[in-house]
Symmetry: C2
Subunit: 130 residues, 2 copies
């Protein structure tokens, strides 16, 4: 079994973030790498967590919300009430994400129109200056 591990620099480079950010996420309890002496050692699961954090960030979630999103993925064996509220949170997130998709689609359409106008303007200039 090959135990792939990563240094803080490895992950920082791979995901294009600063080591400072990664340490900050650890401070917040969002990551918990092993240690080799003082040095942080990240395994694959920690790498995935970081990946999820950054994906959440790209979607405009705060770190707090990213945390919640990630928590949805490992079903901490809670009681029924917790599972029910978990389902509710999932539904909520889903609604939020669907809304974002619509926002994106709307924006993409508007960008299309903007590009069309832009190209039209370029064409006009070309035929005028010639």
């Amino acid at each position: 079994m090959k135990q792939t591990t990563y240094s803080i620099r490895d992950l920082a480079t791979e995901f294009d973030v600063t080591p400072r950010s990664i340490r900050f996420y650890e401070d917040r309890g969002m990551l918990s790498p092993r240690r080799a002496g003082q040095q942080r050692v990240f395994d694959e699961s920690q790498r995935v967590r970081l990946k999820l954090i950054l994906r959440g960030k790209r979607l405009g979630f705060s770190l707090e919300e990213c945390q919640q999103l990630i928590n949805l993925y490992d079903p901490q064996t809670g009681n029924q009430v917790q599972l029910q509220s978990l389902l509710a949170k999932i539904a909520e997130r889903r609604a939020q994400l669907c809304r974002q998709r619509e926002d994106i689609d709307t924006t993409l359409r508007e960008l299309d129109q903007a590009e069309t106008r832009c190209r039209a303007s370029l064409d006009t200039r070309q035929s005028n200056t010639h």
Copy 2:
């Protein structure tokens, strides 16, 4: 022609933001409502601008980026170079938005899986406790 106008409270209520935020956007030059004495008076175009700002925010853009996005929509009659760079910016935004869409789709799929596991856990409990 009916000239619909809005007070700051109207817009704040409609979009569920505070008047403070709206004033802040004006301070940043993102909105420029008319004035009736001291009072701000927003017309439809200003309302749309606010809408665009908030949509940008939902997508995780900074106000700076929201500004840029909105600027893409009114083609300031610039020269060819400006239009070219505008097209480049549009392409860039489009790429970013497409990436976000993929992020969302991925996250939605993972939420599906989380929900499935969650329901399975609930089912197990039900048949066990009975």
